[in-house]
């Protein structure tokens, strides 16, 4: 196993976040080879920038994930796979969207989540990257809205609307799946 010098601050503070970066890269790229390239590029960029480490307020992990986020979009731009323009929503439309909610009875609120793990993965992967990244930072990185906004370089309000939309899109996909596959539901509360 290659090791970096003992007591190296980069080794001590940055490399422990390799799992987080790898997990996010794989979900963003959806291709193992591209994800591994992204992880390597993220850490090399971080290594070069470490002497002038920014985002100290938020810590190393959001900083690393921001580098990953930027590297991902740089790769996309180079390969001409531009992300589609998002249909951002404002909060005034939340109520209107709520009327068509797939949640509630027959939706996914009472679904047996353990029964749909693979479908949940597929549903997440099918989201546009802008929604996917916000959803994943919120869920398995357990980040606050403010931290997510820093990573994505957008406003907190944008994070909230993207998260809402991502959750709504997931609910639509999973609700359809649950109906067709007769996924078990929890008893009514």
């Amino acid at each position: 196993m290659t090791t970096l010098p003992t007591g190296d601050p980069f080794e001590e503070h940055v490399l422990p976040h390799l799992d987080s970066v790898c997990r996010m890269a794989r979900r963003l790229a959806r291709d193992e080879s591209e994800a591994d390239d992204l992880v390597q590029e993220t850490f090399v960029r971080a290594f070069r920038a470490f002497p002038r480490f920014e985002m100290r307020e938020y810590g190393v992990r959001p900083w690393l994930l921001r580098i990953l986020h930027n590297a991902f979009y740089t790769h996309r731009a180079k390969t001409k796979r531009q992300p589609a323009v998002l249909d951002e929503i404002d909060f005034d439309r939340f109520a209107a969207e709520g009327d068509q909610s797939p949640e509630g009875p027959g939706g996914i609120d009472n679904i047996e989540w353990n029964a749909i793990d693979e479908e949940l993965k597929r549903a997440v992967d099918s989201l546009q990257p802008e929604y996917r990244v916000v959803l994943l930072l919120w869920s398995f990185e357990e980040m606050s809205y403010k931290e997510i906004a820093e990573v994505c370089g957008c406003a907190v309000g944008t994070v909230m609307s993207r998260l809402y939309r991502a959750r709504r899109l997931l609910a639509e996909k999973l609700s359809d799946y649950a109906k067709t596959e007769n996924v078990p539901r929890k008893p009514d509360r």
Binding site: M1, T2, L15, C22, V39, Q40, F43, S139, F140
Partner: protein, 273 residues
């Protein structure tokens, strides 16, 4: 029922961030409404499920080893070992070979006269560093407009202010409209491990791109030059007709990179000054 009115707060409520929204009425409703509580519970379960299904996606041993090797190589290597894109990997060795050839063969013939317009000595930018500058120029220009950081303005004065503050450098980002150039893109891109700002200008007449870097002062980038006057201090050429002019001013080193020949680069350097 006020559920629709407070729907926008359910995600924040379920994530424990409702205080940030600072809406006590919403908090009271969400704490007491069964329908909203059910939805918030669904959100929390979704979060737990996402955590569970992706929990096993840590970095495999081979990737850990690869990352450590890449960092070790970067630590030990020359200034530029950039894993930019496979199709541009030829730029670094080709640029370095061309720079070496230029130093030994072409430079004594073409640049046998001092290039300075005054004061300081004339020094060739070290071939390795010239290659690093050209490589950075090529890599960033290849990104097209995507090189421009989305959070930066399109106004060069604001870009200068933002990057100067961020990098704690006296970033140079002049308005070159009168000289026939417009802003193409900008970001914080250093040379090798030297932090810096990178402004790309586009010549309006033919779309030719020039790079202007402002980096922390590094003697090796313009070895024999000093003084504040914006004159041509050092020039080096690489394959493809790209040249580099470097000069120092106080704590900053400036580098101009672009197509050389017919004195275009030097004229632009004088204009910037």
């Amino acid at each position: 029922m006020n559920c629709d009115r407070y729907r926008q707060f359910i995600d924040a409520f379920a994530s424990g961030e409702l205080d940030a929204v600072n809406d006590p009425d919403a908090l009271q409703h969400l704490n007491t409404c069964e329908r909203c509580a059910a939805e918030a519970s669904g959100i929390r379960q979704l979060k737990q499920s996402l955590n569970r299904v992706f929990a096993d996606e840590g970095a495999p041993v081979a990737l850990r080893e690869r990352v450590r090797n890449a960092i070790r190589s970067d630590r030990e290597a020359a200034p530029v070992t950039i894993p930019i894109q496979r199709r541009y990997r030829w730029v670094v060795p080709l640029g370095m070979a061309a720079a070496v050839a230029f130093v030994s063969l072409i430079y004594p013939i073409v640049f046998d006269q001092p290039r300075n317009s005054g004061g300081g000595g004339s020094g060739l930018v070290d071939a390795r560093w010239a290659s690093a500058v050209v490589s950075r120029h090529d890599g960033c220009v290849a990104m097209g407009r995507a090189h421009h950081r989305a959070t930066l303005s399109q106004d060069v004065r604001q870009i200068r202010a933002a990057l100067s503050k961020e990098l704690r450098l006296d970033v140079l980002a002049p308005d070159l409209a009168d000289a026939g150039f417009r802003l193409h893109s900008a970001d914080a891109c250093g040379i090798g491990r030297i932090p810096g700002a990178h402004i790309v200008y586009e010549r309006i007449s033919d779309g030719l791109l020039f790079s202007l870097f402002s980096v922390q002062r590094a003697g090796r980038l313009a070895p024999d030059s000093d003084g504040g006057s914006p004159r041509v201090h050092s020039i080096s050429q690489t394959a493809g007709g790209l040249g580099v002019i470097a000069w120092h001013k106080a704590a900053t080193t400036y580098l101009l990179c672009g197509k050389s020949g017919s004195n275009e680069l030097e004229t632009l350097a004088q204009t910037i000054g």
